[in-house]
Symmetry: C2
Subunit: 338 residues, 2 copies
DNA sequence: TTTTAGCACTCCTGGGATGAGAGTGCTAAT
DNA sequence: ATTAGCACTCTCATCCCAGGAGTGCTAAAA
């Protein structure tokens, strides 16, 4: 279904006006602020037809119109301009990615912070799933007299550590065990590592069985860690400044929705290419709690695993800018993590 | 200033009733629900006197009373019962501290989560200041062909990592540098380490100057990291279910207050012993944004550094239970981190 | 002297009623 | 096909009023 030129222009005006003000928009406003060259009455007629065909809604009989999900969808697919980010925004993001004395987790967290502040929406990053990751090397380091620190470096740059019991081990023994573990378990996917470790214990019949056991348990833990563990959310406070959240009930609902499994599963279930962010408007997402919010998110790759980065905002969010920001982050995250 | 026995009982009844319901409490309610053995009229007289002496307030002329800051203070100091935690609460907390396959940061984060869920208040932990910490050992590990991972283990169990440029180094070289750094910089306080590193570079006149430089820069970064970096907050969503936050403006104000330097500085500025949590009621804290909230927090020690753990709730928070929870966490955190 | 019952008074709260304002839909004129 | 004009609809803020909860005061009872 397509729209004739003038209807499209009216729709675009309604959407953009509504995105800006958050209020229902009337025919007079459009006539005044958008140079369509026709009178309010004509626009009224067009709006009536756009309503009949489902692109616009009326909150009540005698108010202005607001875009329906379908209206936003048409706008996003056909009318939305491609925006360029402001120089200072680009600068803020670039400096994030340039200073590389950081671990992956900090990078992801800071990215979330920057883009939520830049948009006033809620931002999230879903880090690469460690289960699909292989690890680069594993090290045992002395931590105290009876403890050792297990350090695991994955191929996407995650660094995971945990303290394990390792009484009476010399540094040389630790090095030996480190080498053995790296040799035998490196380049095995994390979710397969537990089995391999069992085999290793049998082969070696060694006095290090206990160490290997602890290491395997930890690796197993990493692989089976629930999705929420690698979700970083930022900008809750920003969201509160959106007028649609003057009702606290909404906010609560939303916050718990984000932490619930459902939303993450939904985001992961959508297959898409990098550089082509997914936009889900209002009730297009099957997740109830965000039925009057919109979602713009993309994916980035880190080694052979992938993560997601996105924005969650009111249905009247600024899609054009959001898409530009997400695209930028997709690209730069993928570069930084490879 | 002290109160005669009956006034104290009336005050206690008003405080406890108000904590439970959140509403102004009237004389009739107290006569009915608390067995003081006197009529509402008598209670009215007592309440009038308590109001005159500043222990109670009236929202308006003909409503029930609510405790003033002073009333809460008297309650907290003189009337509040010592509560024991429920078995299941103790269990939830104990299992947190028992499973020790965790790094410090996760432990702190999970503690925050557990106690904010248990209380429905906002919980926070301020981790030990790394500037006052010495480190245990420092290691260089191969990460990729041109990069090495710098791992620093502090004496309180923090593990900090960062990637640095280290082209063409063999494992043996890395071990050599690791040993050198640990020998020369270990047991130096983090905030003194930069100077020491400069000295080291001069002494060694070595080809590893660049590595040492990067390590020193990172250590310096740790030491000068702002206080907020080690602040973990949890339970924002819980706070929204408190009736005093049905107004979104409040919530926003509060969220930004927490992230502001001021509150943290205030908390750090109070000296106190472990096992003796500080209670700050309403306007007792000089930080404007929490002038109608209360703060209950304690301290824990980790090596020779110290951290803080606390709850931020409405002025009518359940002080008795909050104190019990904070005491418990103080003790167990100190045990776990030493 | 202390406690209590009684009662007038105050103030908040919630439910209509009202009027202004914004915007529409329709009709008739251009 | 477009536009001006106008009656109509609906929301929103305000005001008013009655109901209810609670107080303070006075006078009687313990």
């Amino acid at each position: 279904m397509t729209l004739d030129d003038r209807k499209a222009r009216v729709l675009r005006a309604v959407v953009e006006e509504h995105i800006e003000t958050g209020l229902p928009v009337g025919s007079r406003t459009i006539a005044k602020r958008y140079a369509l060259g026709v009178s309010p009455a004509t626009i009224r007629n067009e709006m009536a037809e756009l309503e009949e065909t489902g692109y616009l809604d009326k909150p009540h009989t005698s108010s202005g119109r607001i875009p329906s999900d379908r209206g936003y969808r048409f706008y996003v697919d056909e009318l939305m301009p491609q925006v360029r980010l402001h120089d200072d925004e680009v600068y803020a993001l670039e400096s994030l990615f340039r200073s590389r004395a950081k671990d992956v987790v900090s990078l992801l967290k800071e990215t979330v912070k920057v883009i939520s502040d830049a948009t006033n929406y809620l931002a999230f990053v879903l880090g690469p799933d460690s289960g699909e990751v292989t690890f680069n090397s594993i090290h045992l380091l002395p931590a105290s007299s009876r403890k050792a620190l297990l350090v695991i470096i994955t191929d996407v740059g995650y660094v995971e550590t945990c303290l394990i019991d390792a009484p009476d081990m010399t540094i040389d023994e630790m090095r030996y065990v480190s080498d053995m573990l790296t040799r035998n378990l490196g380049s095995v996917r994390l979710d397969k590592v537990a089995d391999r470790a069992q085999a290793l214990i049998r082969e070696e019949a060694s006095r290090y069985a206990e160490i290997i056991d602890q290491a395997a348990a930890f690796l197993r833990g990493l692989a089976t860690e629930p999705d929420e563990e690698r979700l970083f959310v930022g900008g809750t406070a920003n969201l509160l400044s959106q007028p649609e959240f003057r009702d606290v009930g909404r906010v609560k609902e939303l916050l718990s929705a984000i932490e619930s499994e459902g939303l993450i599963q939904y985001i992961l279930s959508n297959d898409h290419r990098e550089g082509d962010p997914i936009i889900r408007i209002g009730a297009e997402s099957p997740v109830g709690a965000i039925r009057d919010l919109s979602l713009v998110y993309g994916r980035f790759t880190a080694g052979n695993a992938e993560g997601r980065i996105g924005l969650l905002g009111p249905r009247r969010m600024d899609y054009a800018r959001s898409v530009a920001i997400i695209k930028f982050c997709e690209r730069r995250l993928s570069e930084s993590l490879s």
